[in-house]
Amino acid sequence: MGRGQLGDWAPRAALVAVGVIVVGWLAIKAADDIGTFVTVTLNGVTLAALFFVVASGFTLIFGLMRVVNMAHGSFYLLGGWIAFTIQDKAFREQPEGLGFDLTPDSDLQFSLAGWVVPLILACLAIAVVGLLLQQLLLRWNQGQDLRQALITIAVSVIAADQMLAHFGGVTQEIQPPSGWPTSVNLGVEGTRFGFFRLVVVLGAAIVIGLLLYVVIRRTKFGMIVRAGVDDRQMVSALGINVQLVFAGAFIIGALLAGFGGVLGGTMIALQPGEDTAFLLNSLIVVIIGGMGSLGGAAIGALALGLVDAYGDVYLQFGSQDLTNYSILLTFALLVAVLAVRPLGLFGRPA
C-alpha cells in the first residue's frame, strides 16, 4: 500500500502482543476451572458452527454475484418460523389417553420426522423465496451492487414487518426430536454439554463445510462458480449459461440461511430481531474472513463465536465485572483484522 516498512510492521507487532496477552489470560482462567473453560469453549465453537452455516450462504452469493444480500437474516428467521409452524401444526402429538391437552410445551413429544420434515420443507421454501428474490428483483440490476444491496434492505424491512404480523412477537423454540438425549458427558470433571448443540449443529456445520468444499473444488458446477468469482464476463463468453449458475448459487445460499434458521430456532430461539442479529453475524464473519471465501467464513465464524463466548464469561478482572462491555471485543476483533487486511483474511480484490 505504499507505506513504509515500519507502518506495516507496527500494527502486526501490536496484534501479536495482544494475541499473546489474550491467550495467556485464557490459560490462567482455564487452569482455574477446566470444566467451565471446556463448556465456554464448546459454546463458542457451536455458536461458530451456526454462524458458519448462515454466513457460508452469504459469502457464496457475494463471491459469485457481488450481491450483498441484506435479506439474508430475513431468510434465516423466515426459515425458522416456517419450520416452527409446520412442527406446531402437523407434528404436535397428542398424549395418549385423555382427550384433552394439559401438557406444558416442554413435555410435548416429537418424533424424528417431527423435526426433519419441517427442516426439509423450510429449506425448500426458503430456496424458492431466494430464487424469487433473485429473479424478480436482482437479476435485472446485475452489476449495480449498491442498488442491489438497497433492494435487499427494502425486502428485509418488509419481511421483518410481515413476519411480525404473521408469527407474532413472542419468543418460540423449535423442539428437537424427543428421542435425542438432551446432553452428553464430556468426560472432563463430569461436565455435560447439550447434545443438539454439540452433535447436531456442529456436525451439520462440518458436513456442510465439507460438502461445499467438494462441490466447489470437485464438480463442474463448482468449477464454473470459481471461474465466475474470478471473471464473470469471460465465463459467459465461453458459452456457459451464467444466469443458470447465478440462480443455482442463490438457491443454495438462501437454502443455507433457511437451514441455519431451523438449527438456530432449535438451538437458541426464534423472535423478531434475530434476523438483524444474524445479518450482523454474517456481515462480521465475512468481513473478517474475506468476502466470497468459504475458508474465510469458517475462520471468521470461529473467531466471532469464540470472542463472543469468552467475552461473556472471562471479562472479569477481580471484582471488576466488564462482561457487559463484551461487544467491544467484537469491535476490536473487526478493527484488528481490517487494520492489517482491509479485505479480510482471505479476501481478494474484485
Binding site: V68, Q144, A149, I287, L338
Partner: protein
C-alpha cells in the same frame, strides 16, 4: 452554471423563509410532529448524503454516531437514568458533538481503506455494535432508556411550546446545509469529489486518500452528532432502541427517498417520511394481516423498494429528470446551440448515482 447556482440559493432562501413562517400557518401539532422531526431527521440524512454524494461513501453508520452524541448529551445533563452528572446543557451539546466526531474519526480511519459495498457493510457493523454496546451497558443507557433529559433554557419545554425547538432545528438545518454547500467548494471538498470519482488518480497526484476520507467521515460525524443531539431535544429521551438497526435503515430510507446525491433530498425525504408516518395510519386499507394501520414498516419498505427500483436519484432525481426533459425539449428547438443542459452544479448531479452504475469496487 452561475444561473442554476443562483436559483438554488434563492430557492433555499425562499424555503427557509417560508419555513420560518410555518408556526404562524400550521397547527402546533404539524409544526412539532411533522416539521421539527423532518428537520432533525433531515440533518441525520444530510450526513449520509454528504458522505455518499461528495465522498462516494454510502454509510450505514450515521445512526450509530448520532446515538453516541445523543447518549453522551443525555448522560452529561440532569436526567432520569444514565450517569449521575449534571453539566450545563450547552456545554453538554458541545461535548456530545465532540464525542461523535471523535468516534467518527476512529470509524473513518478503520473503514476508509475499503470502498463501495464493503464500506456499507463495515459501517453497518459499526452501527449495530454501538447499538449492542448501549443495550448492554445499562450504566449509560438506564434500564428503560435515559428519560426526562434536561434541555437548554433556550428551548424550554417542547411539550408545552414546540416553536422554540422548531426554530433551533431550522437554524441548525440551515447552517448545516449552507456549511456543507460551502465545504464542497473548498479545496478539501473538491479533493473529496476527485477521490469519489477517481481514487487511483488522486492517489497518483499525491493526495492522501485515506486521510481525506477519514476527515470526511469526521465531518459526517459532526453533522450526525448534531442530529443526535436534536433528536434528544425532540424526544426528551434516548434509549438503545432509538439507535437500533431499524433506525439506521429509516435514515437510509429518508436519504434514498429524498435522493442520495442531492443535499436538499435529505430534508425532502424526511418530510415525505414524516407525512407517510403520520397520515398513512388513517388511510392505509386493511388487507388481512398483510397491510393495515399497524404495518407502517411494510408500507415504507414498499415505498423504499419502488424508489430504488424506479428512480435511483430519489424524489429529487425524478424532479430533475422532469426538468431536464422539459428544458431539453426547449433547447433542441433552439437548434442545439447550447449543449449545456446539465442540471445542478456538481458532477454528482449531472451523472446521477455514479456508485449505483459502477459494478463493484474499482481495482
Amino acid at each position: 452554471m452561475t444561473d442554476t447556482r443562483r436559483t438554488t440559493w434563492i430557492g433555499t432562501g425562499v424555503a427557509v423563509a417560508l419555513l420560518a413562517l410555518a408556526p404562524l400557518i400550521f397547527t402546533e401539532y404539524f409544526v412539532s410532529v411533522i416539521l421539527t422531526q423532518a428537520l432533525w431527521l433531515g440533518v441525520a440524512a444530510a450526513s449520509l448524503i454528504f458522505l455518499s454524494g461528495y465522498a462516494g461513501m454510502v454509510s450505514l453508520g450515521q445512526v450509530g454516531i448520532y446515538g453516541v452524541a445523543g447518549f453522551v448529551f443525555a448522560n452529561l445533563v440532569a436526567a432520569d437514568g444514565g450517569l449521575d452528572v449534571a453539566l450545563s446543557p450547552y456545554l453538554a451539546v458541545v461535548l456530545a458533538v465532540a464525542a461523535a466526531v471523535l468516534v467518527g474519526l476512529v470509524f473513518g480511519a478503520v473503514a476508509c481503506r475499503s470502498e463501495g459495498i464493503y464500506f456499507l457493510m463495515i459501517t453497518l457493523a459499526f452501527s449495530v455494535i454501538i447499538y449492542y454496546f448501549f443495550s448492554q451497558v445499562t450504566q449509560l443507557s438506564g434500564f428503560g432508556g435515559v428519560n426526562s433529559v434536561e434541555l437548554p433554557g433556550l428551548i424550554g419545554d417542547p411539550g408545552a411550546d414546540p416553536v422554540p425547538l422548531f426554530y433551533v432545528s431550522l437554524a441548525a438545518s440551515a447552517l448545516i446545509y449552507a456549511g456543507i454547500r460551502y465545504l464542497v467548494r473548498t479545496p478539501f471538498g473538491l479533493t473529496l469529489q476527485g477521490i469519489r470519482d477517481e481514487p487511483a488518480r488522486m492517489r497518483a497526484l499525491g493526495y492522501n486518500v485515506g486521510l481525506h476520507k477519514t476527515l470526511a467521515f469526521g465531518v459526517g460525524a459532526l453533522v450526525a452528532g448534531v442530529a443526535g443531539v436534536l433528536s434528544v431535544f425532540y424526544n426528551q429521551r434516548i434509549s438503545p432502541g432509538s439507535v437500533n438497526i431499524s433506525q439506521a435503515i429509516d435514515v437510509l430510507v429518508v436519504a434514498v427517498v429524498g435522493g442520495l446525491y442531492r443535499l436538499e433530498g435529505a430534508w425532502i425525504g424526511a418530510l415525505v417520511f414524516g407525512l407517510i408516518d403520520n397520515y398513512s395510519r388513517e388511510y392505509t386499507p386493511e388487507i388481512g394481516t398483510v397491510l393495515g394501520p399497524d404495518r407502517f414498516n411494510t408500507l415504507i419498505g414498499i415505498v423504499f423498494l419502488l424508489i430504488v427500483l424506479l428512480s435511483p436519484g430519489g424524489l429529487v432525481g425524478i424532479w430533475e429528470q422532469l426538468r431536464a426533459r422539459s428544458r431539453g425539449v426547449g433547447r433542441t428547438r433552439m437548434a442545439g446551440l447550447d449543449a449545456d443542459v446539465t442540471v445542478g452544479d456538481t458532477p454528482a448531479a449531472t451523472a446521477p448515482a455514479p456508485a449505483l452504475k459502477e459494478g463493484g469496487p474499482r481495482r
